[in-house]
């Protein structure tokens, strides 16, 4: 289908930072680069900038397509563009590949200037707080004193909240979608299984697989397959695949038989070809470590006392990895601090992945919220 309101052809750029960055882990990065894309125009007042934060496996390519690869559409193309809920005729939208990523920003696959080799396992663990610092420095480069909004789903929603907590004067609105104020034990457990799949792959070589000319494909593939199951719902899997067999009858062997197996293997293979295992490990840790209430004896309301922004919180009924209950905890903390907040639970069958899907009600809500942001 022709997408008439797509942003069209976009290109990625990069920005270099020479001021050392002190990380939460106490490690220091002397210099780093961030790769990013922008859509729309920054207004003369620089008051219309929106930062879109990506989730675990996302990147800076949020909307539009590349001239040399017109099939590579940005991961949130249905949400962002001229006339779309996040309207690029009004806003200057920025997508950044997070530090530690594997799509161009400095991360484990980058060359460490101190050694002349890839960082690999030496790349420090980074947290949402570290990302918030990089967002602020990025804004400084563009002369953006205050983002009109920061928006994200899943891990991106956590990154958005983190900026609102760490640099409250730098953002006016925050949209937190399908996120959580902290991962539950069950959620950390899923991440651990994913990590163990990678860490125990014989091709992992302690994270230095680059110098061994290998990539822990099997581990990364398993990690992605597991993750994928948790991003869907029982109902959506049942309706999409059911118990359908690829070849119509049972073969009584261990080959791929059910359509769901075929789908998961395909997803796992595709991901293992495109993503870096060290980055996957790092991103799951950033998820696990996010816990703004930790420094406040677990009191999330106390943690949000420093926030100043207005919030939109959205959850999806079939999302069991980041359930509506988790979003309600965020809303409670915002209400306790008398911050402006709206919250909606969106009926959906697609599980956690719902936040990436086109849904009329979901998109109308985001549009309504964005329309009321003054620039």
């Amino acid at each position: 289908m022709q997408d008439s309101d797509s942003i069209g052809i976009v290109s990625a750029r990069r920005v270099h930072f020479d001021t050392p960055l002190s990380l939460k882990s106490r490690a220091v990065l002397d210099s780093y680069e961030l790769v990013y894309e922008t859509y729309g125009e920054l207004n003369p007042e620089r008051s219309n900038a929106i930062l879109v934060c990506h989730a675990l496996s996302g990147n800076h390519h949020v909307a539009g397509v590349y001239a040399d690869n017109p099939k590579n559409t940005g991961w949130w193309n249905n949400m962002i563009g001229p006339g779309k809920p996040i309207d690029t005729r009004k806003f200057f939208v920025i997508g950044i590949n997070n530090l530690g990523g594997c799509h161009g920003s400095t991360g484990p696959i980058s060359i460490n200037n101190r050694t002349g080799k890839r960082y690999g396992p030496d790349f420090p663990l980074v947290t949402t707080s570290d990302w918030a610092k990089t967002y602020v420095r990025f804004a400084d480069q563009f002369g953006i004193d205050c983002f009109a909004a920061i928006i994200g789903g899943s891990l991106g929603g956590m990154s958005a909240m983190q900026l609102a907590l760490d640099a409250p004067e730098r953002v006016r609105h925050v949209a937190v979608i399908a996120a959580s104020a902290r991962l539950t034990a069950q959620n950390i457990a899923f991440n651990d299984v994913a990590r163990q799949a990678i860490l125990t792959d014989p091709d992992f070589h302690g994270g230095d697989y680059y110098s061994h000319g290998t990539h822990p494909r099997r581990g990364l593939r398993l990690a992605r397959m597991l993750g994928h199951i948790t991003y869907l719902s029982d109902d959506s899997m049942a309706s999409k695949f059911g118990r359908e067999l690829r070849n119509g009858s049972l073969a009584f062997n261990y080959d791929v038989e059910f359509q769901i197996e075929s789908y998961l293997h395909y997803q796992g293979d595709k991901f293992a070809d495109l993503f870096d295992a060290n980055t996957y490990l790092l991103m799951t840790k950033a998820l696990d470590y996010f816990d703004p209430a930790q420094d406040y004896d677990g009191n999330l309301s106390a943690a949000f006392a420093r926030a100043q922004a207005d919030f939109l919180v959205l959850s999806f009924t079939s999302d069991w990895r980041f359930s509506p209950e988790r979003s309600r905890e965020i809303v409670k903390a915002l209400l306790d601090n008398k911050l402006n907040v709206s919250y909606a639970e969106i009926p959906s069958t697609y599980g956690h992945d719902s936040f990436l899907m086109q849904d009329d009600y979901y998109h109308q809500l985001v549009r309504a919220y964005m329309d009321n942001i003054s620039i």
Binding site: R328, V331, K332, L335, D336, K338, N340, V341, S342, Y343, A344, E345, P347, Y361, Q364, L365, A368, Y369, D371, N372
Partner: protein, 205 residues
């Protein structure tokens, strides 16, 4: 809705909303339970500098509130107000929703837990035309009770006397009562001539 349309709708505020708005002190905080499309909160915010949140369960209404720029929280009133702290609002409003709730007693208690004062409005089942229809052998159907018995959401209808008895039972202190017949105040036999009842109440002294 454009800004002009919104300000026009504010000028022609429904009489029942106007009655409630007259009780709200400027600059106060309000929680509007079952806030509908946010018209009342929008008015209170614009005219009285009231800071507030609406609570809604209907997707249609939540969207309408967000389009007006009203804070709205998706929540089911039947499960109480656990997302809200004690005494966190100056007023908690329940406008023409009480009669449609299952957990009537619980919501009255929750209103006074979360709010310093509560404001409740409901259709008076004791209105003479309702009584007449019952006397004639039928459940009342009118502009204020526009449903047949088999499709009505109104499962807990009451009269002024009934509501005041419930307040007594829960040691709810009625501070003010206003009874309306369309846009006219009713002072004479309100339980007979009043169509809509409004109560402002607080904790027992």
């Amino acid at each position: 809705m454009t800004t002009t349309e919104i300000s026009r709708s504010v000028l022609t505020l429904r009489p029942d909303f106007a009655t409630i708005a007259a009780w709200i002190k400027p600059g106060s905080s309000v929680l509007d339970l079952g806030c509908g499309d946010g018209t009342l909160l929008h008015y209170l915010g614009n005219k009285l500098d009231v800071r507030g949140y609406g609570v809604e369960i209907s997707a249609h209404n939540i969207l309408a509130c967000m389009q007006k720029g009203i804070n709205v929280i998706h929540s089911d009133l039947e499960s109480g107000l656990s997302g809200f702290e004690n005494a966190s609002f100056d007023y908690v409003i329940l406008s023409q929703t009480l009669q449609a709730m299952k957990n009537t007693e619980n919501i009255i208690q929750e209103i006074l837990r979360v709010g310093k004062e509560g404001i409740v409005s409901f259709p008076n089942f004791g209105y003479w035309k309702n009584r007449l229809q019952v006397a004639a052998g039928h459940m009342p159907v009118s502009s204020n009770l526009p449903y047949q018995w088999y499709d009505t959401p109104n499962i807990h209808l009451c009269t002024l006397h009934d509501f005041e008895q419930l307040c007594q039972k829960h040691k709810v202190n009625i501070l003010e009562r206003r009874v309306m017949n369309h846009d006219k105040k009713v002072a004479f036999f309100p339980n007979l001539f009043g169509i809509l009842a409004f109560y402002r109440f607080g904790h027992a002294a």
